[in-house]
């Protein structure tokens, strides 16, 4: 914990001088650790001279921030209108069926996490899916299987 706390402090230090730096800091922490541990909230509060509640309120407002560590491949299926017009809801159903979990859940073996997302900016090539940060267009069940198989290699 203390070593991690030092890392957290170093991340904060890298943002000294930035205005309103909490979001960039939270992003960096999540990029570094994959999540934001509850125990770092007091460290952040002290370093940034805000209250613990301030930090907690921000973390819980934004859906990007996770409070639990996760090794899973994140599959985010776009459910916004443009993707719905080309069968996003069917893709969601297919994906849920493939992995046996609902959106917002992680497979029991911890390998894949399904999430919904509203718009990836790929609305002319719908439906869109983002897998570990990379975007795919014209997605369907078959292509998803293919991409995930490839992704496992790279």
């Amino acid at each position: 914990m203390s070593e991690d706390a030092e890392t957290v402090r170093a991340i904060v230090a890298a943002h000294r001088g930035d205005r309103g730096p909490l979001l960039p800091i939270l992003h960096d922490i999540q990029d570094t650790f994959g999540y934001i541990d509850q125990e770092w909230i007091p460290v952040l509060a002290t370093e940034l001279n805000v209250s613990r509640a301030d930090v907690h309120g921000v973390i819980t407002f934004y859906t990007d921030f996770r409070s639990e560590p996760s090794q899973a491949t994140t599959v985010r299926v776009c459910r916004a209108e443009a993707c719905q017009s080309l069968g996003a809801e069917r893709l969601v159903a297919d994906t849920e069926q493939m992995f046996g979990v609902k959106l917002g859940q992680t497979t029991p073996d911890g390998s894949v996490r399904l999430e919904q997302v509203f718009c990836l900016g790929n609305c002319a090539l719908a439906p869109a899916v983002q897998i570990n940060g990379r975007m795919y267009g014209r997605m369907d069940r078959a292509r998803l299987v293919e991409v995930l198989a490839k992704g496992a290699e790279s």
């Binding site: 001279n49 209250s51 509640a53 907690h56 309120g57 819980t60």
Partner: protein, 921 residues
């Protein structure tokens, strides 16, 4: 009176003259620029429905109940967030608006328990009220939809519960915690429909940063945050307006009763000192008043080794009178004296000093201010001409630079601290001079520009160096000095000497010269600069010198005589200002007039029909010394626990043991009472009728919430003793005492209970020249005419660290406890501070093999005690800190007899000590 419901105008007042005229449903009203439509409507007599708006908080615009129509605009803006414009025509009652409001309420109620009839807030619920106001008749969504009804209640706080199932997510609690209190312990967790109030990072209230000030409870419009006492006892049905009896802030409260039972204390919005805010002590910690350990019957014993014997009042009083007279007959008129209490009312204090002066026939009267703010009295009298702070609390909102020296307002004066922090969040700069890194130095959203972390005992060197920078860098306000002050040249010659330069004093104070120079420049050039100080200034061998040093600095920079500036003591106890005002000092009659002044004495002699001794009497430490040498034999102590609060406990107790008659009047059998021969039960503030004067010279009414549990008003007792001693002194009501005070004290000439009842409070001087009181002093001229510069050479205390006692101990307070703890220890406040601890730097701890929480021995040249260690980097290396709230610890066992050269105020803040692991030797 019936239960007082204060009007809520929805949004805070805007400053400035009323210049903008608008029409609300045809009613014209003129308001200051920037006023919200909601407030303008309220001022015109029309309440717009609202839930998230309340006039203690900035407009938020979330509930959408206050929508209005404005001529010429198609939309329906929220009236709370819409400022008025001249000529605006507002409609608040139209079919469209009524439908919208019903729609909003329909949504609220679709996610709210339907238990109004059994709800603890029934009758005091804004949600309930608004349902009625908007005429809600049905909830067409039904109650089966998504909801928050199964959320768990948090009952962790000893004073209030949090029931999120009743929350309407208006954020009033969150905003109150931030805007009013400045703690930011609350937030909204999540977003959208999942939004929910969270203490800290999803913690229980008790585990969070919450300081239990009650602002959130006060702000909550539903039963979500509610006092446990209301849950247990039910809604109060009548109100008594009164004044808190804890610190010198002097908050106004509505004591709310159900029948004769006090249910809760609610801060009063019209209270000049607190403007609707409170702290954990005043708001919640009043249970001591009805604590079973209260003594309510007089008791007598011949020897302190005997058991107490309960007697009736007449027996007790005649016993006291007889014994006092006997001692005077045997040992002389000056062999007895009295100590007045800073916790009692002005009227109660006045009669005690009158008893001493008129019935005892001497000036052996002193007050517990001796051990806290007597140097303030001396120092400000010498320089400015009167023994009191220069500003009202409101003034801090105009300060651009705030200097806090030897004070820890967030713990000791929390409500004022909140006002100060609000100003700091608005951008005022802060300089803190304190050996400890107190919360103000750095806490959520507050950060001092400079923390002058000086070695204890070197205040004067620091203030001299700041003045040195002002004088030598040409930052003096020359016209102010020339027009308003005297003796500047001698002082400036003294202060400009090299020995006072920051570079020269760095070695003494440990404060880097550059930091000090920057701080001095900021003070001198940063706009309105205000100094606030506490016992970290006064309780030193040079306490009085330091007070004068600060006064010099303020005068040199022209920071006196207007809003936003000044030199201001933060008084420790509720009525320490008042007890001093009332003539409790052995050298002064009421209004700070020396006993040697024939004209002043004559006023009293004429009225009292007794000669007044023209020479000063004994001060408290002198009384102890004289008791030990046998010349002082009898003492009346009103509401002060000198055996716990005064320094060098063994010396004090020896002196008390030496007395032939010690009469103690108090609520509880305190430490001092162990040495008493007569115990007279005192009354709590809930039983008192009179006035307290706070740190800003504000005279507030204290009104009885319940009859005296002792069967006698405390103000009656000195009169009865005096009468039994042969001096006729009687009043039918405390208002007569105030009338007498006003008749003999020019600064109080205009004060009366009638005026206080009418105006709420007044700040002295209150007389023909200032019939409604004086918020800011020394505006056109100083009370003494010209402000006097007094050279203040730094003289190091003789209490120094040594090989045997290498650390310096300094003492202070903590938020939840108060003074010797007699009151707060008898409430649930012990939850937060069950024992005194010794704070020390991890380095000092490591050197001694001490771990966090270890039991340690604390020893000084005069005594030793034991307590638990708290490792804290708030402390500098070499300095340790503790509080004196618990008699078990008895921190004053180790403090010395060193005292302020001018006033004998003890040097609590510097004691050379050693700390050892374990309870050895």
């Amino acid at each position: 009176m019936a239960l007082l419901k204060e009007p809520d105008l929805g949004t805070p007042a805007k400053p400035g003259p009323a210049t903008v005229s608008v029409e609300v449903d045809g009613h014209p009203v003129t308001v200051p620029e920037g006023t919200s439509v909601m407030r303008a409507a309220a001022l015109s007599g029309i309440d717009i429905p609202k839930l998230c708006a309340t006039d203690s908080l900035d407009a938020f615009g979330s509930c959408r109940l206050c929508l209005v129509e404005i001529a010429g605009r198609p939309s329906t803006p929220a009236s709370c967030t819409t400022p008025v414009t001249d000529g605006m025509r507002v409609r608040i009652q139209t079919p469209r608006l009524e439908k919208l409001r019903q729609g909003v309420m329909e949504l609220y109620i679709s996610d709210h328990p339907l238990d109004c009839l059994t709800c603890s807030a029934n009758g005091d619920c804004e949600l309930q009220d608004m349902s009625g106001v908007v005429g809600l008749r049905q909830v067409r969504y039904g109650y089966e939809g998504e909801n928050h009804l199964d959320l768990d209640k948090d009952t962790s706080n000893p004073y209030f519960d949090f029931d999120p199932s009743k929350c309407i997510a208006c954020s009033r609690c969150v905003r109150a915690c931030g805007e009013v209190q400045g703690t930011f312990a609350l937030t909204i967790e999540g977003r959208g429909f999942e939004s929910k109030v969270s203490a800290g990072a999803g913690e229980l209230f008790l585990d969070s940063e919450c300081v239990s000030c009650g602002a959130c409870v006060q702000a909550c419009p539903t039963a979500t945050l509610q006092e446990k006492s209301v849950v247990d006892l039910g809604m109060p049905n009548r109100t008594v307006l009164t004044t808190c009896a804890y610190c010198g802030v002097g908050c106004s409260f509505k004591a709310e009763l159900r029948g004769d039972e006090l249910v809760r204390m609610v801060p009063y919005k019209d209270g000049g000192a607190n403007e609707g805010h409170s702290c954990v002590k005043g708001r919640f910690a009043f249970g001591y008043a009805t604590h079973p350990e209260r003594v309510t019957t007089p008791m007598v014993r011949d020897s302190i080794d005997d058991e107490w014997r309960e007697v009736d009042w007449d027996t007790a009083i005649s016993h006291v009178a007889r014994r006092f007279r006997e001692l005077q007959d045997t040992y002389g008129q000056g062999a007895i004296g009295g100590i007045t209490s800073s916790r009692c009312t002005n009227e109660e204090v006045y009669v005690v000093q009158k008893m001493v002066r008129a019935a005892f026939g001497n000036n052996n009267v002193d007050t517990c201010a001796r051990v806290c703010h007597s140097p303030t009295g001396y120092g400000l009298k010498q320089t400015f001409g009167t023994s009191a702070g220069t500003q009202d609390f409101r003034s801090v909102a105009q300060a651009d630079v705030i200097v806090v020296i030897g004070a820890n307002p967030t713990d000791a004066h929390p409500v004022f601290a909140s006002r100060m922090k609000r100003r700091l969040r608005e951008g005022a700069k802060l300089i803190v001079a304190d050996p400890r890194r107190i919360d103000l130095v750095r806490s959520a959203h507050i950060e001092a520009s400079h923390h002058l972390q000086l070695t204890p005992g070197t205040n004067v060197a620091v203030v001299n160096a700041m003045a040195h920078v002002v004088v030598t860098e040409g930052l003096t306000d020359e016209s102010f000095v020339a027009d308003r002050c005297e003796d500047f040249d001698a002082w400036s010659e003294f202060i400009a000497r090299e020995e006072n330069s920051p570079e020269a004093i760095e070695a003494i104070t440990g404060v880097p010269a550059a930091e000090l120079r920057d701080a001095a420049r900021l003070y001198a050039t940063g706009g309105n600069a205000a100094i606030y100080y506490g016992l970290g200034v006064t309780e030193h061998s040079q306490g009085s010198t330091m007070v004068m040093g600060m006064a010099n600095l303020a005068m040199a920079t022209g920071n006196i005589g207007r809003e936003g500036v000044g030199v201001n003591p933060l008084r420790g106890q509720n009525n320490v200002q008042g007890s001093c005002d009332m003539g409790s000092f052995p050298h002064e009659l009421s209004g700070y007039r020396h006993v040697s002044d024939d004209a002043v004495r004559e006023v009293f002699e004429t009225l009292w029909q007794r000669p007044i001794v023209a020479e000063p009497g004994l001060r408290i430490p002198n009384m102890f010394d004289s008791a030990l040498d046998g010349s002082f034999r009898g003492l009346f102590v009103q509401g002060e626990d000198i055996a716990q609060s005064d320094p060098n406990t063994s010396h004090v107790t020896e002196a008390l043991r030496a007395l032939d008659l010690l009469v103690v009047q108090d609520l509880f059998l305190n430490e001092t009472a162990k040495f008493a021969h007569v115990f007279l039960p005192g009354t709590s503030f809930l039983e008192k009728d009179g006035t307290f004067t706070n740190a800003e010279r504000r005279i507030n009414r204290v009104r009885p919430v319940m009859p005296p549990k002792t069967g006698k008003h405390e103000w009656e007792v000195p009169g009865e003793i005096a009468r039994a001693m042969g001096y006729e002194m009687s009043y039918k009501h405390p208002r007569e005492i105030m009338a007498e005070i006003a008749s003999v004290t020019p600064t109080f000439a205009g004060v009366s209970f009638e005026k206080l009842d009418k105006l709420g409070s007044v700040q002295w001087p209150c007389n023909d020249a200032a019939p409604e009181g004086t918020p800011t002093m020394h505006v056109d001229a100083f009370v003494r005419g010209k402000g006097k510069f007094v050279p203040t050479p730094f003289v190091a205390t003789t209490e120094r660290s040594s090989r045997k006692f290498p650390l310096l101990l300094t003492t202070g307070r903590i938020l939840s406890q108060y003074n010797v703890g007699a009151q707060t220890r008898r409430t649930a406040n012990v939850t937060w501070h069950p024992e005194d601890v010794l704070e020390l730097h991890p380095h000092d701890a490591e050197e001694r093999g001490i771990g966090d929480g270890d039991e340690v021995t604390l020893a000084s040249r005069v005594g030793r005690t034991r307590l638990r260690a708290l490792l804290s980097d708030r402390m500098p290396v070499g300095v340790v800190y503790t509080t004196f709230h618990h008699p078990d610890t008895g921190a004053n066992v180790v403090t010395t007899e060193n005292s302020d050269w001018a006033t004998n105020c003890p040097e609590y803040k510097v004691t050379a000590v050693q700390v050892g692991k374990g309870v050895t030797r």
